[in-house]
Amino acid sequence: DAGVTQSPTHLIKTRGQQVTLRCSPKSGHDTVSWYQQALGQGPQFIFQYYEEEERQRGNFPDRFSGHQFPNYSSELNVNALLLGDSALYLCASSFPASHTEAFFGQGTRLTVV
């Protein structure tokens, strides 16, 4: 089992650009959540996808959007990048019945210059 895989591992973008991050959930998992982790901070919840729909959303602007595909993989899109968007972006997958045990990928380190 490959676990949760994310791509790319590192990315450098220019302010104002757009970025797409990708996530493949752990085998058998159908729920995907995205988190932003600034350096030295805990992960902050962005949104969660289940059955190809956004089920919950954290306190992030509309510049952050996502998608879930029929095979449960997911994408995180960020438009009009700001310097403050530089962070580690984590994807986590779980079963919907699991309230607390999420399996995280290693993350994508995004640097906005």
Binding site: V4, S33, G42, P43, F45, L90, E101
Partner: protein, 111 residues
Amino acid sequence: GESVGLHLPTLSVQEGDNSIINCAYSNSASDYFIWYKQESGKGPQFIIDIRSNMDKRQGQRVTVLLNKTVKHLSLQIAATQPGDSAVYFCAEKSTLHDMRFGAGTRLTVKP
């Protein structure tokens, strides 16, 4: 507003000693409290959780205690090993929102 926070940012213990990591929370409506471990260069890894109607739960070498009176959560690690060195996050979850993480405590185990 509601928040999850930690008492200490760093903790250093001797190998073989017991470790206690503390966490304060403010959301009385939380349904679950969870501990995650994050090693350098990796994503967080689930350790143990406790439902809000419980006050103690034990796992393998770990125990989580919940004191709802003072809104305090702790993680106890028995016989701490070098492999336990990591950043530990407490998180809370309710039916209204997904997991909210605290800032983390860095545990260093000295050989």
